[in-house]
Amino acid sequence: MLNNNIDVLIIGAGPAGVAAGIGARKQGAEHVVVLERDWDLGGILQQCIHPGFGLRTFREELTGPEYMHRFIQQAHEAGVEFRTNTMVFQIDRNSNQVWTMNRERGIECLNPKAIVLTMGCRERPLGAIRIPGTRPAGIYTAGTAQRFVNMEGYMPGKRAVILGSGDIGLIMARRMIWEGAEVEGVYEVMSWPGGLRRNIAQCLDDYGIPFHLETTVTKIHGKDRLEGVTVAKVDANKAPIKSTERFVACDTLLLAIGLIPENELSRMAGVEIHQVTGGPVVNDLLQTSNPAIFAAGNVVIVYDLVDNVSDEGLIAGANAARYAAGEISGSIRRIPVKGGENVRLFSPQFVTGESDTTIFMRVTRPIEQACRVFTTPEFYTQRLRYARPGEMNEVKIKAAQVKAMPDLQEIIVDIQPV
């Protein structure tokens, strides 16, 4: 339990952090500590009690807690030390000292050799979209409602409207039905869904929940408890069309309007944050602009599948262990990655050529026809039946391919119709 010889310190024991712990230990780091502010491990997956996790990793449909259980067991076996109820509230940017608090241990200062940021993401709140009207009780982000229902055993309301079609909103639509509540509909301002198609099918279509695209909530009604919302179609500029406004009675409004990587600590630590992803700028070793700080999972870029998050956690943990052992020096930014015209965001943003790598990306708007995801130079190309913003795409690049081109200036990733 010494604090002065931590090789790799990992912040957050969700899927990325637990995997990072395993990755760091397997790479040979002696003292690997994962800090978790909650009283239990698993992060948001603790409340994701629906199945659908781990199809890629375990070829099974697991619930969130089941998926996490397997990783947590591996981590225990690998000798990862976990400290729960421990919150990091400050990272000093020059010394990389990490300040923590815990009821029993009080306030402590840790001096790890390397850090992995795995704080995950948070939900976009109502204020971000500035809906006019009153401010009654009964408006929750979908994840907060999920916590109330799945972990506390309480219902946030009896008749819900869901704004936004992010995956948590879709999952919660079904959960509310399962718990005996009504779901009047799901409203999405964009012309395409925010979440996975499989969730539209399994959570909305199977339960006859109406799904309204290009429609949004324009007003909130009710003084104490929510009494209803006004919804309206939007025009091409996303401005509500007055003539289409209608009142929908409901006592609950659940928001699934996007996820934002949670980078308060990263900013404190002086880590460069990417304008579009909202997460740290990283290379393929998942190293940030601060050479001793690595990052993985939804804190970097919001993924669709937890399998990807765990994979990235393993990589970040292993490279943090290498850094702690002095095997990596400086922040390596050899070859910049650039997005083509149809790519809205992607990660990592730099390739070192030291290891095989996967670059994850999302298209700006849907391509509902056969298309191709590829790199320039052409290290990778793959045909796709379609490409949609709600479903991530990836390219894989081999270290050998990069090493074979010593004069390489940039790698462009793009998705184009064929």
Binding site: M87, F89, W99, F148, I220, D224
Partner: protein, 495 residues
Amino acid sequence: MAKKYDVIIIGAGIIGSGIARELSRYKLKIAVLDKASELPSGASRANSSMIHGGFDDKPGTVKAKFCVPGNKLWHKLKDELDIHLDECGSYVCAFTDEEKLHLEKLLAQGNANGAPGLEIISGDKLREREPNASKEIIAALWSPEAGIINNFEAVAAFIENAQTNGAELFLETLVTGLIFETNGDVKGVNTNRGIFEAPVLINAAGVHSGEISQWAGDTSFKIIPTKGEYFLLDRTTQGFIHSFMFSCPSKAGKGITVAQTAEGNLLSGPTATEQDDPEDNSTTPEGLAEVLKGARRLVPNFPVNLNITTFAGVRANTDTGDFVIKALENPRGFVNVAGIKSPGFTSAPAIAIYVADLLRENLADKIKFIPNEKFVPERRNIPRFLYSSMDERKELAKSDPAYAQIVCRCETVTEGQVIEAIRRGARTVTAVKMLTRAGTGRCQGGFCCPRVAEILSRELGVPLDAITRHGGDSKLLVGRTKEFLLNKQEARLNA
């Protein structure tokens, strides 16, 4: 049985709570009644929190009489009562030569009011200090004594200190009528919680002060509820501007301002929309669009993408345009402190002293003014972990492990602070929010709301689904899971 007091104050906003504190310097039995479940409510809750420099008000008005002294008092009270006051100064910005002339007028007016340190500076000088100010601004009136206060803390400080010194606070207590002696003098009030009796009644009911004044037969003024809408941006905007920026005032009011709050958020507003309903504090598309336009005029790159919430407050404008502060001849014992809008927050401490004097001069036959030698002027704020030094934090955590448990991650609020807020009277999620700032950050309670609700439930010994957002019917939860399901199944079986 009627509860008997010397003084009843209707309304525990910045005015009512300020008067309660001032009167608690005397051995008086004071009852403060407020219909809300949490303080502040009404206009003291949703306003610009500006401590004005004192140049806006025409010399000779009641406003002008209290604004400059009020400003001076706040600079002293901030330490005495442990309130965040950012002594940031303010600028009135001129875009045209005509507006520049108006600055001269304001300067003269300010000098006449005794506002210190006023100075007209060039647009370039302004932009040296405020690089994000519009390039179109040609001159600005600088008022170094202006500031911005944490309005939640200010009201809490007044009412807590008044309570420390013996005043009693009754929340969720709605005054429904006045009671008079046979000679016509004030006797007390009817409320939803029974009768409260006192020979002196202070009407500090904000937007409702006109109605209550009419009950007493004084119809010399009318309240025109005036809505002001605002944007509040993330604290990551800290330093985007450093002070309080105004446009040149017009007939419609002081216009849209942009300011950095005492806590480092960026704030813009208010609109000034007259309405009939004193309680309607909903935001509107038109109002929000007007605020954004006004904000961008002063600060063209106003980072609205970092908005975390919008809100509206309803202020108590009067048809006379001025504050109404007077003791009525008939009924005797009835004192109006009504129609207090901008610069009401600034004026509040000066008004409180004036009202105490007014009572002493006019109503000494009704109540006795014996100094309360046990009066404690100081009040300490709930410890603020965010602003504490590392040594103070270690000390807090050692003294109470609850201070080593974060509840609100955006504003770094600990469980210890939440428990202390509950100890000081918080009963709702919003009350905790206003006393501790848990839930005021960029996730707007997404993270801390369930945790605060749990702590409230545990500390108050009530079920989780009894906890409300802001009192009344604003319950967060509607029951246990499976309840509806079982009820539905039962109904089906019965059918």
